[in-house]
């Protein structure tokens, strides 16, 4: 991830999980979980317009998606984060443990 992708991912995760996400280093696993969170939510699919779906089962989105697609996906999330937070709130709360573990590298 380049610096812009990292910034976009962090800003989106802070909007979703609060200040604790400021200390999360935006790594591949956090990207994969973010993709999973958005992909599995049927309610806000705007960001999914920018990714080829469905992904092959078991494929890690970070490795599967081209860099331009990843960047567009993250930029869309960051720019529309207030809207996404509303529709992803419940699913994000349910996945919080996975995000915390990924951020800790455990």
């Amino acid at each position: 991830m380049d610096i812009y992708d990292r910034e976009h991912l962090t800003e989106f995760l802070v909007a979703l999980f609060g200040k604790q996400a400021n200390s999360w280093h935006p790594n591949e696993e956090l990207f994969n979980l973010t993709y999973k969170l958005v992909a599995e939510s049927g309610e806000c699919s705007e960001a999914m317009r920018y990714v080829p779906e469905p992904l092959a089962p078991g494929k890690a989105p970070f490795k599967w998606l081209k860099k331009e697609v990843r960047s567009k996906f993250l930029k869309t999330l960051q720019e529309n984060r207030e809207q996404y937070v509303i529709c992803l709130r419940g699913a994000a709360y349910n996945m919080a443990l996975e995000f915390k573990m990924a951020a800790q590298g455990v």
Partner: protein, 167 residues
């Protein structure tokens, strides 16, 4: 002679019941017995116990940060109870009621998999989702609400739920 009893007992402890390695003091009144983890990690808010094929976490519910941008101060207990108890929902504002229903949907915990128990005067609510392989436990303690998450099989979830005790 002692070995005749000790060896099977040890094997039973390690492989059948999940030998409890320690106890986590949750509060003045409550504790949680836990088996030896592979590692323990602490984030800014959450204590995580990681095992080979499952994970457990504990945190105290913070009404101000439960959902970013929404202050649940004064409503957190009823809001959480409303995830699992429909009778509680009318006591919430329409917005919170809607959020509680959506959260329950996001948990994807079927009614038959909801968990309700009590320890003394403390209620325990939660449930396990086969879809997500994830379960939640909320303990309504005297001065705080504990949130325990178990990621793993249902049997692990039940094991953790049963390992909460009074002290």
């Amino acid at each position: 002679m002692k070995r005749i009893f000790i060896v099977p007992l040890l094997a039973l402890c390690l492989f059948a019941t999940g030998c409890m390695a320690g106890n986590l003091v949750l509060s003045q009144d409550l504790a949680l017995d836990y088996p030896e983890p592979e590692l323990i990690s602490h984030t800014s808010t959450t204590l995580i116990f990681k095992y080979e094929d499952w994970t457990m976490s504990h945190e105290i519910v913070d009404a101000e940060t439960f959902y970013p941008g929404i202050d649940l101060s004064g409503d957190a207990e009823q809001f959480i109870r409303a995830f699992f108890t429909e009778d509680v929902r009318p006591s919430l504002s329409p917005e919170l009621r809607d959020m509680a229903v959506k959260q329950r949907e996001a948990f994807d915990i079927p009614d038959h998999a909801a968990y309700k128990d009590s320890l003394g005067s403390f209620d325990i609510l939660g449930g396990y989702s086969e879809t997500h392989g994830l379960g939640h436990i909320y303990i309504f303690d005297r001065a705080a609400i504990h949130h325990i998450v178990v990621k793993g099989k249902d049997a692990r979830y039940k094991q953790v739920a049963k390992s909460i005790r009074e002290r």
